[in-house]
Symmetry: C2
Subunit: 326 residues, 2 copies
């Protein structure tokens, strides 16, 4: 199976590109199509040893930056690494998944324009993963692609989010929760109340409303919300986690008796940060387009790319997309 990688538009194209050999080593059944300025890609990979027969380089001299308007950029830069990658996805049935760490907006707009939406999907949504207290992963959909949504859009997020978690983690019917301000059915704003009614009849494993306070508990494996609220939830979790860790580190220094060996505290903070990073390592999946598209974190590099490739491979093998979607 072929996985297309847009090597540019991210913070560290060199590191990101240099993750490809490790991915090829780890997964022996994949081939990679790397898009970007060919001479740079060759240069980045020059000293590394790997099976070069399983790597194809597609030259794409242009790069789309985060500063550009996504719609304009996709239209005006047909030779950008992202546009070339998307066109390859569109025309080559062997290419099953695309990974890009470039501009989120451009990946989103480009995928909708060039790959197209699944049948019956009006609004593809972006679904990142978060590590829960019970050690499992949970996805939030939508996390920022769609600011103003209708109830039927949230049902689409639920349907594809459920399929996503099922394909990657092998769970038959992942628990779907609707983000609200109380667990009772009548709690929430108009959007949430109308969505609740639709989700009850969706055939999904809908467990009702979940509150933001229990998002990390892992009770719901798919948390459904509009993109504004999903973004709010993710950023609030991120900000609070950093704030609490910083405050606790400060307090421990204050209270620890003089001479206490604080190595274990560094280990604690290190593992804590690592856990929180687990989500961003995976990248966010664009749910509801006709191929698998993963938006990796902008600061992805050599160490995280193999993880994201593994996620794409799981989705391909797990049957995330169905005949009826196309």
């Amino acid at each position: 199976m072929k996985i297309v990688i847009d090597c540019f538009g991210c913070d560290d194209p060199r590191g990101f590109t240099r993750g490809i050999p490790a991915a090829l080593h780890t997964y022996e059944d994949i081939e990679v199509v790397a898009c970007g300025p060919a001479s740079l890609i060759r240069d980045y990979l020059g000293d590394l040893t790997f099976d070069r027969d399983r790597l194809e380089i597609m030259d794409a001299p242009d790069i789309i930056t985060n500063e550009e308007s996504p719609v304009e950029a996709i239209r005006r830069k047909p030779n950008s690494s992202l546009a070339v990658a998307l066109k390859r996805m569109k025309t080559d049935p062997d290419c099953k998944a695309l990974i890009s760490a470039g501009s989120t907006g451009a990946v989103l707009v480009g995928s909708i324009l060039l790959i197209g939406r699944c049948k019956g999907v009006a609004r593809p949504g972006l679904a990142p993963l978060l590590p829960c207290d019970n050690g499992k992963m949970m996805c939030v959909c939508d996390s920022g692609a769609n600011m103003d949504c209708k109830p039927e859009h949230l049902v689409e997020f639920a349907r594809y989010g459920s399929r996503y978690m099922s394909s990657v983690y092998g769970e038959e019917a992942p628990a779907v929760g609707l983000l609200s301000v109380g667990v009772e059915e009548k709690k929430g704003n108009t959007l949430v109340k109308e969505t609740h009614a639709l989700l009850k009849d969706s055939g999904l494993n809908f467990i009702g409303n979940v509150e933001a306070s229990e998002a990390l508990s892992g009770r719901a494996r798919v948390i459904v919300c509009d993109g504004f609220d999903g973004n709010l939830l993710l950023k609030s979790i991120e900000g609070t986690a950093m704030s609490v860790m910083t405050r606790m580190a400060g307090l421990m220094k204050k209270y620890a008796p003089e001479g206490t060996d604080m190595t274990f505290m560094k280990q604690t903070l290190g593992e804590m940060l690592h856990t929180l990073d687990a989500g961003s390592m995976a990248g966010a999946v664009l749910l509801g387009v006709k191929k698998i598209v993963i938006k990796a974190h902008g600061n992805s590099g050599e160490k995280t790319l193999p993880f994201t490739v593994g996620q794409a491979r799981s989705m391909i093998l797990g049957g995330y997309l169905k005949e009826e979607d196309l």
Copy 2:
């Protein structure tokens, strides 16, 4: 100045009532009107020493519970501790502030029906306080009273939130931030973009959009949002803080060398919880009604009531309400 206290409808009426003497000791310029079943109030206070001339007990045999519909409860229980307290507020110009730890919905509905909205206010909002990283307090408004809002409602929250922080903390023009998914003006949903335009011309110290990730930084002293998102933000902060503390405590046990004296860790967690509690101690203010109304936390008790009374007193002395509001 007289402060009316609804002593019932909370988790621990005895503890809450027994906080009154401490409040009277602390603030010598206040008098308290305590509402609830008179014999019970007398019984709760029986063994305590305080200036009984500054306490008036208003008998109110009924109690409104959290399980009742707020509108029904206020209508059908005119002799409940909350309804009696509200009627006293309405009729007695000496009564400047009301504190209740009872049903949030009933306090909200009752205050609007019996005390009335400030001139020009369509939707009073609930504003709790949160402790920021810089040691200052910040309020979120609305935090759950209004699920579906219009831009002008958010401007009202901003105006009264600003006045509130100014009256309690003496800051002339507290920084007002609009909760959104990016700091750029064009980021957000329709509600936020329209509100942004109005806030720019509001005459308030509007610092633009703030993201959920920086909510606890203290850059904005008033965070403005609809009640759905405010509730989401608060619960997400609460849930994440508990999750991170629990995970860190577990990791420290794992990494600490055998025999390490972990007393300092308990002190750390204790102070951390205390800091997080600082917000709930203060209670949430119902902004935009014609008197000061504070909804104390349902589990408020003997230790927290004096703090809430002090907050009410600061608002009275700080000139939170103006002639033009009435």
